[in-house]
Amino acid sequence: MLTILFDGIAYGMVLFVLGCGLSVTMGLMNFVNLAHGAFAMLGGYVAVAAMQRLGLPFLASLPLAFLVAALVGIVLERLIYRPMYAKSHLDQVMFSIGLVFMAVAGTDWLMGSGQQFIRLPAWLQGRFEIAGIGIGRYRLFVIAVCGLLAVSLQWGFTRTRFGSRLRASVDDARVARGLGIPVTRLFALTFALGSGLAGLGGALGIELMGLDPTFPLKFMIYFLIVVTVGGTSSITGPFFAAMLLGVADVVGKYLVPQVGAFIIYALMVVLLITRPHGLFARARA
């Protein structure tokens, strides 16, 4: 039972890294970016290409996945996202879902439609047991990396100058600009950070979720659940939401496989009825 809890936590951690980028762009920047999964897929493919074509080790391909996704994020933000900030949410949804379909078709064309594989280094393969709990090495690695990220993100947004400037810009961009905060640059950086995180999540997730060109469509629902349940105004919200959903999904499928796939949705509905603004939402006017 504890083994399955451990598996669920690892799965939730990957969901968190994938989803928190979305809550960064969607919550902090108030932009509905459904194309988030495309950045995650990009990160995954960068990792695959780095390992297969350039022969880089797995650990080196992870930061590369982050960097490339972040860079593409900056470029796209400047070129096509920025004009969309002022548009209505519906326009943003249509726009970003269009991007998703372009990404799916483009990846299919460039990389082929098959599943992509990576070979993990030997020290990340297999499992060991502590007190009867089976611990997969890779899952432990994922938990460590993602846990570290969660802590540093929370710290970054609440305790640093960057974080406070960003929150100020989101709440009132005009006043923030008047105070001398470089709002545009801040937003570009934040967008890059969100995309980079998605890319990293995509690379980390290959081994657990697989990678093919339909990735952004297949997992869009999961990112959205994490963000809607977790709320978009903090890092802790999506973190606990992702944990809860990851564990509920895995444990549910383990205990009652007949309805297991449905549990995650039932949980979402219950949570949204009881806490419509998300788990840790601050009150909105």
Binding site: G114, G210, P257
Partner: protein
């Protein structure tokens, strides 16, 4: 006014006559409507079959039974609505003589009423749920059925001191087919079976494999669509089930030749029953694999590709028998009972069920040189689809 109308009518009539004449000319070629998932999650199936169809035309030439073949390829992306629409267009606008392809069960099923109404033979080259051929008297199949591949596994397991099996299958037509046919046969032979079904869109197999690991069975019987097979194999090994002595068995989809090398060494030792392996030891297959790889560098033909290759052979054999007549009923009659040597071994079309009769092989995944292959070590000859055979 009336005068002008007759003139207009005349022009219209003339135009119709001309276009009808055009249609007669175009009918000189026998058109085959090939509907495949060329993009989307099942694109591997489409690519394999498309490559096999092209290879067949390149090797055997385009003229059969005195008629030139023309293949019209449509990409349905694995979406049944699209398949149905393309089938309709191909029948009505392009006047195809045969509909072919069909990567998945729902796609073949969606097209069945069109084949029946239009009296156009529907050659199923991939989809593998047993009941498909019952959906229309115009459906003929050149791939396989899952019970056909799964039941021999039950016999093999029972004969090799496996007593307790846990089955994990994807929760849709073919998965349920594989599970029920294996379980029934295996229980009949005195074994015990526990089962779980996995949702089609399932990212992580951890919870299901954990159940397996706690049940401590002698073997894990698995059917998942081939792309996802890699994921499954890796997590099977990650959980240490191979070391715990659980044998991995099942129909050959998890160790699909198309992705076997990508799966890596975790696949070694899997025992599967299937109708085709790229390593099948026959001159016909050696020639086939060589020609396929020459025409498609970096690709290895899998069980889907032979379904497509033999589908084309079936169509051309039928055309030869009818002397180029493309009338649907005559073509179907000519297809019934057709038999030939395929790259997978001797096969024939059952005249009663229009389904394929073929050898099923027991194989073990091994490293041959630097590549992984499914090496056949036993043959069960002339297996009919057991579901329809029992009726």
């Amino acid at each position: 006014m009336t005068h002008r109308r007759t003139v207009l009518g005349g022009i219209l009539g003339l135009a119709l006559a001309v276009s009808a004449g055009g249609a007669v000319l175009a009918q000189d070629a026998v058109k085959i409507g090939l509907i495949l998932p060329m993009t989307g999650p099942f694109a591997s199936t489409g690519r394999q079959i498309d490559a096999a169809v092209k290879l067949f035309l390149a090797k055997e030439g385009p003229v059969h039974g005195g008629r030139k073949l023309e293949v019209i390829l449509k990409d349905d992306a694995g979406n049944a609505d699209a398949t149905r629409r393309f089938a309709q267009e191909l029948v009505v606008n392009d006047k195809v003589a045969v509909l072919a392809g069909f990567g998945l069960t729902p796609l073949a099923m969606a097209t069945a009423p069109i084949a029946t109404q239009a009296k156009v033979p529907q050659v199923v080259m991939a989809a593998a749920t047993a009941t498909i051929t019952e959906a229309s008297p115009y459906i003929v199949r050149t791939s396989f059925t899952l019970p056909q591949a799964s039941e021999p596994m039950a016999d093999w397991a029972a004969g090799n001191s496996i007593k307790k099996v846990f089955t994990v299958v994807t929760d849709y037509g073919p998965g349920i087919d594989a599970e029920t046919s294996f379980a029934a046969k295996f229980k009949g032979a005195g074994g015990t079976v526990e089962s779980v079904r996995v949702p089609l869109r399932n990212p992580d197999f951890a919870p299901f494999l954990q159940r397996v690991s706690e049940a401590k069975p002698d073997a894990l019987f698995v059917f998942v669509p081939s792309g996802i097979g890699a994921q499954f194999m890796k997590q099977f090994v990650e959980r240490g089930l191979d070391k715990a002595g659980v044998k991995l068995i099942g129909p050959g989809d998890v160790v699909d030749d198309d992705i076997l090398d990508g799966i890596g060494d975790v696949a070694i030792g899997a025992i599967t029953t299937h109708h085709y392996s790229a390593r099948h030891d026959s001159p016909a297959n050696k020639a086939y694999v060589e020609a396929f790889q020459k025409a498609n560098p970096g690709m290895r033909p899998n069980f889907m590709s032979v379904g497509g290759y033999d589908g084309m052979r079936l169509i051309t054999e039928a055309l030869k028998k009818t002397g180029g007549d493309t009338e649907g009923d005559k073509l179907i009659a000519a297809m019934k009972g057709a038999a030939w040597e395929s790259p997978r071994g001797p096969i024939s079309i059952d005249p009663d069920t229009r389904d394929i009769i073929q050898n099923v092989y027991v194989r073990k995944t091994e490293k041959v040189g630097s590549e992984l292959y499914n090496v056949e070590f036993a043959t069960i000859p002339n297996v009919k689809d057991p579901v329809k055979a029992r009726k």
